[in-house]
Symmetry: C2
């Protein structure tokens, strides 16, 4: 009968939206007074959506609370207020008040509540209208018809109807009437009123805000309770009803019933918490934008698993992957390398689809084309890289780093183990996918991949091949491709199930993820402000070679030079002229630091900041008095990535290398060497400027952590106490011996 409800992704197209505000949202905790801040931000969001051309309706609670506050105030005033006010400050709070009848409060509060809504909406140039309804209005066809056409007319006039039950005259709820049936729904509460109205008005979406997060699969608070992201009517059985409360918090069952009724009538429903101080400011707009909030009731079940399910699958399969032999992990990677060659036609066909789509969408810059497109040659070198990773995989998981005989028959080993579940986020570079997958497989980690949507088809094929390779040893699910519809922000919130995030892409991507990933460590760096310092005793040849290479070899790289520091004594020497000539020839634009500018009669434009990462044929140039000054400058303005000294004085060089606090410090070598491959680390996971875990170019060991294995024979701590029989030996043992199964038999 009704058109099917939209899916989560389609919510942004919802035109007609009912927002239901539960009393927990509208009122403060103490139930006598409105939560004005929340109300104001809700009005702001509704007005914004209305001004976007949507048709918004509000079903609101709050009249009783407003009325209570008002009546209380009136009563106080009439109780010879002046006296009360004069005698003490908290008198107003302490005075006993008569118990106020809810219907009287509702009557008294309704007008004030409406006035408040109107005043607030006026701030956004939005008109409102008040509608009070009762149960009977829906039973009587004529009345329903009238209500319908009034609302239609208001919506057509760009007015936001604000609907409430007529609490002053409404009859008591009928306990046995039910939501079942399409045309009959009794208005017991604002949940059912909102559902009834949404269906009557053919709304696309009903957002029901209360103080619960949404629907849980078991009573909230129990060990395993999980919030259900998307609820399909067919799944109703999967909810465990607790012994004490039914579906968690009281009233939830009624909300679910109302939601299902609305869904059946063609309106999508989201039940979410509207009381979180941090999210209230955008809960409604976020829902409309399709972000994961609360529980979304949908009729259409998507084909694939949710990202939480994917993570769970990846973790389980990853545990098996971690317990394979190193040879088996290598085999998987080699098989993937073969598949890249074998199935190259399939891969290239998918890649062509992506390229065509990008061309048609009109946003295929040359740089992006270079990143997005694959070729047989690219696939070949990708396969070669994978085979190198397969070799590295032999010495990664299960290495014994330390062995100690703690006491007689008590031996300790520290061994390398995978980190757990990695999330790798990459942009429009499909070749990242097999590379990163191989790194994860080599280190025994489970992997969630999130690629740019421009490469969706290519990524899909490459991921299928990866899973085919993983199937070789029964660990197909260890690498998961996350649907392109998942927001990066949503993924970054999964701090309970993801152990490490590795962004592969622009510095902006890294910054965004570092900001979003509260609680999950992020491996990488957002800035590469690399310095080259030319000492007074530098060799001309080396300076020209190294400065050119550091800046011009690949200016967009994070290890390219951004600031050139020169010793004061070099100014106005032939070396200085040669540097400037070389930079001119290479078309490098120079920005002058303040001291440099002060030395010149005609200086280049002054650098806006000494902390700029130009990422192009541009650099800052600044003068320093001594090597020590250069170190101080780099500590102050650098990003601890890579910094270089050019000098022939070994003592100066060693001082620089020793004092400088960057991940990479170089003497007479280009900053461009800061790279895992060039360092001989084999596979490169990324470059980290963090100060804990891996630092600088990170090889496979950056994807590993350790665990401690202790093998005893009934040993207890008490055995080693003052009166115990045992003594600690703490002998270091050689680590070369096999991992397990060899114990001292005496």
């Amino acid at each position: 009968m009704a058109a099917p409800s939209p899916t989560a992704g389609e919510l942004r197209h919802a035109k007609r939206i009912v927002v239901k505000l539960g009393s927990a949202v509208v009122t403060r905790g103490d139930e006598c007074g409105l939560a004005l801040g929340r109300l104001a931000s809700i009005v702001e969001q509704v007005a914004m959506l209305q001004n976007q051309g949507r048709e918004m309706m509000i079903v609101t609670s709050g009249a009783v609370a407003f009325g209570k506050q008002r009546l209380r105030h009136e009563i106080l005033l009439s109780q010879s207020v002046r006296q009360a006010l004069h005698s003490g400050q908290n008198q107003l709070k302490d005075m006993s008040l008569p118990v106020l009848e809810a219907r009287a409060c509702a009557a008294a509060g309704q007008s004030g509540l409406m006035a408040l809504y109107e005043a607030m909406f006026t701030q956004y140039s939005t008109c409102t209208a008040q509608i009070l309804v009762t149960n009977l209005d829906f039973h009587d066809d004529q009345k329903r018809q009238n209500l319908n056409s009034t609302l239609q007319e208001l919506l057509r006039m760009n007015i936001v109807p604000i609907i409430n039950t007529n609490d002053a005259v409404v009859p008591p709820p009928e306990p046995n009437s039910d939501l079942q049936g399409v045309n009959v729904i009794s208005i017991k509460d604002n949940d059912s009123l909102a559902a009834r109205l949404a269906v009557e008005m053919k709304a696309d979406l009903l957002i029901a805000l209360s103080d619960v997060e949404g629907l849980y699969d078991s009573p909230p608070g129990t060990d395993d309770a999980k919030l259900i992201d998307i609820f399909y009517p067919g799944d109703q059985q999967s909810i465990t009803y607790g012994t004490k409360s039914r579906v968690g918090i009281g009233g939830m069952e009624a909300k679910v019933k109302a939601a299902l009724w609305a869904l059946q009538g063609g309106t999508s429903v989201v039940i979410a918490n509207g009381t979180h101080p941090k999210v209230t400011g955008h809960v409604i707009t976020d829902i409309v934008e399709g972000k994961k909030l609360g529980t979304f009731f949908s009729e259409i079940k998507p084909a694939g698993p949710t990202v939480e399910q994917q993570t769970e699958m990846a973790r389980n399969s990853g545990r098996t992957l971690a317990s394979l032999l190193p040879d088996q992990r290598s085999e998987i990677i080699c098989h993937l390398a073969e598949l890249l060659t074998e199935k190259k036609d399939e891969i290239l066909a998918a890649n062509k689809m992506d390229m065509d789509l990008a061309v048609n969408a009109g946003h295929l810059s040359p740089a992006m084309q270079k990143r997005l497109s694959l070729s047989p040659a690219k696939l070949n070198s990708l396969a070669i890289g994978l085979r190198q990773i397969a070799v590295a995989a032999q010495d990664s998981v299960g290495q014994v780093l330390r062995r100690t005989r703690v006491a007689h028959n008590l031996e300790l080993e520290q061994i390398t183990v995978p980190i757990g579940v990695l999330l790798v986020i990459f942009e429009a570079r499909p070749d990242c996918l097999p590379q990163v997958s191989a790194l994860a497989i080599a280190s025994g980690n489970a992997l969630l991949l999130k690629g740019g949507k421009e490469a969706a088809n290519t990524n899909r094929v490459l991921h299928e091949l990866t899973q085919e390779a993983l199937s070789l040893h029964g660990v197909k699910e260890a690498v998961q491709l996350v649907s392109t519809r998942e927001e990066v922000e949503d993924l970054c919130r999964l701090d309970k199930i993801i152990d490490l995030i590795i962004p592969r892409g622009s510095s902006q991507l890294v910054k965004d993820i570092q900001r979003a990933a509260k609680g999950i460590p992020v491996l990488g760096h957002s800035e590469g402000i690399c310095h080259v310092y030319v000492d007074a005793e530098a060799s001309i040849d080396k300076v020209i070679k190294i400065v050119r290479d550091s800046k011009c070899d690949y200016p967009a790289a994070c290890n390219a030079m951004e600031t050139l520091l020169i010793h004061r004594d070099i100014l106005r020497t032939p070396l200085f002229d040669q540097i400037i000539d070389m930079l001119r020839t290479e078309r490098v634009k120079i920005h002058a630091g303040p001291r440099f500018a002060s030395y010149l009669t005609f200086s280049p434009s002054e650098a806006k900041s000494l902390r700029t990462e130009y990422g192009d044929l541009e650099c800052c140039m600044e003068v320093v008095d001594t090597m020590q000054d250069a170190v101080d400058h780099i500590h102050k303005y650098g990003s601890s990535h890579t910094d270089v000294i050019i000098t022939e004085n070994e003592e100066t060089a060693e001082q620089f290398l020793h004092q400088l606090d960057s991940a990479c410090v170089f003497w007479n070598a280009s900053s461009r060497f800061a790279d895992g491959y060039r360092f001989g680390l084999g596979a490169e996971v990324g470059i980290s400027t963090a100060r804990i875990h891996a630092r600088g170019p990170v090889g496979l060991e950056g994807l590993l952590t350790t665990k401690w294995v202790l093998r005893g024979d009934g040993h207890t701590a008490a055995d080693f106490s003052e009166h115990g029989t045992m003594k600690y030996l703490h002998e270091n043992l050689p680590v070369g011996q096999p991992l397990a199964g060899q114990r001292d038999s005496n």
Copy 2:
């Protein structure tokens, strides 16, 4: 003339407070309409403070904005609105409006604005009164007197006066009148009005909210601009005036002048940003609680440096510490050990003061007494521990972990370096201070210490001795003791200057810090839910010994057993009875897991959650079918700290050790061995359950990171390109050779 203004710590005692709301706070960005959400939360805070018994006054902007919106609305309605409304949705926004004169808007808006304030304050049972003032009201003594007594009367009646300039009648500002002088201040804007009123009314505090963070020492946005936390009138010179804007953002200078004027009159002032969505909800209450927000104008300069200055001093001195020889760092630590013995009378006297204060304050539980009190014996064993750390210091910083010949004459080294600046937060255990200081010194790290205030005197003496020891090699400032008044939360926000936080204390302390420390890594663990699994093939003797030791040796320790998992086959065997008997004898309270409970006729009370850390003589007991079930249970409910299997079957044991994903996995040994000392790591920094950086018991190496040192001879990346002359060698070199100064001379 005026009483001195209160210091930041005394703000919570401020009774009379003026809150000034700039137009940026009250209005939306587009300047036609109020920011209702912000306004509502400000009203909420003011009402809250008023209800605490304070006397609140508001100086507000916003009448013009309110009036503009209102007049616009009126004009639209009069322009044959119906027609406009019928013809299209966005018509209202698009219609051209006459330019509205500000004074007319103010007149039209004033009443509406006041009505809004009144409606909002009514929600918190708070009365308001409107006061409109002009410049002249302050020049005329009689008028000033009238204003004063009106306001006094309102405050006495517990009414919040809401003050605004009478914009409809106010004369144009006089450009040459100034804030100088005590009795004359021209009301050019709400900043000077608020300052004038605050002084007139002898307010304790003026909170001026606008859209700037506060006062910067140089124009905001420049490389070195820093927000000034506390501004003393004498410091006025230290502000660098930019060439383009004076003291940063326009209008700031006037704000500063007004603030200084108020300060001179005896009112403290805080200038802060009232437009941040995340902090607006508590900016006023936070300021009153003495939290660091914006710039606080104070007359009294505290004796010591700010925590930012301390961090800077520590970092600089720490760099020198890091460049000392290992022997020198050892010497410092040994000297500190000597001082602990030499100056023990001084230390114990300070400790006695702390103990006496705690006794007098009446909160000295036996457990706390044990933690807080020092004795000659405690100091002795502390000194012994320090000498062990001094030995460990020999092999920490500057170790070569890897050496690679990248190419001819291009050599790479990976060496250990300190992490940077550590923040260690500890509770009422003064012995932590020298221990942690020694660890930091040994690893060449700068250190900020924040101890519990109960041990303030002891900590002060111990810190003085630490600095005395550091002076031996000129690095006195490398270890700083942060004043007890600094909030832990404030310290956790210093993510730009602190590299690692190490909490030493209760699991609640760790949890609080993990929550607060956004952006700074925290080393440690908040939960230790350790399991002991008794396999079907376990030896009775070992089970009894290990279970008893794991639970009872020290039940409050993080490595104590919390859940005992037993194989199903053991139920109703003599072994089972013996376990239960032993636990009864040891007075361990048992909580039954759901499966265990289902096996028993009369079960102990059911465990509330399988994830409980009892930390006492209590544990959960649960039944599993197989070793694999035990692993699954631990993965699901554990905290990856330490888990134990007891079995005589080596294959089962090795499977358990291999599959389980915890930091420590033990076979036939008590969980209590998870400890740095017992592991033979020497000094213990803590136990980490994180998955990156150090894991499990952490020794000194947890306080180290690495850097890469590359020594070349003019090498560039281009030399190694397809057409280059060089080839990568990537030969591993032995790491035993000395660090520097030895280069291949061919």
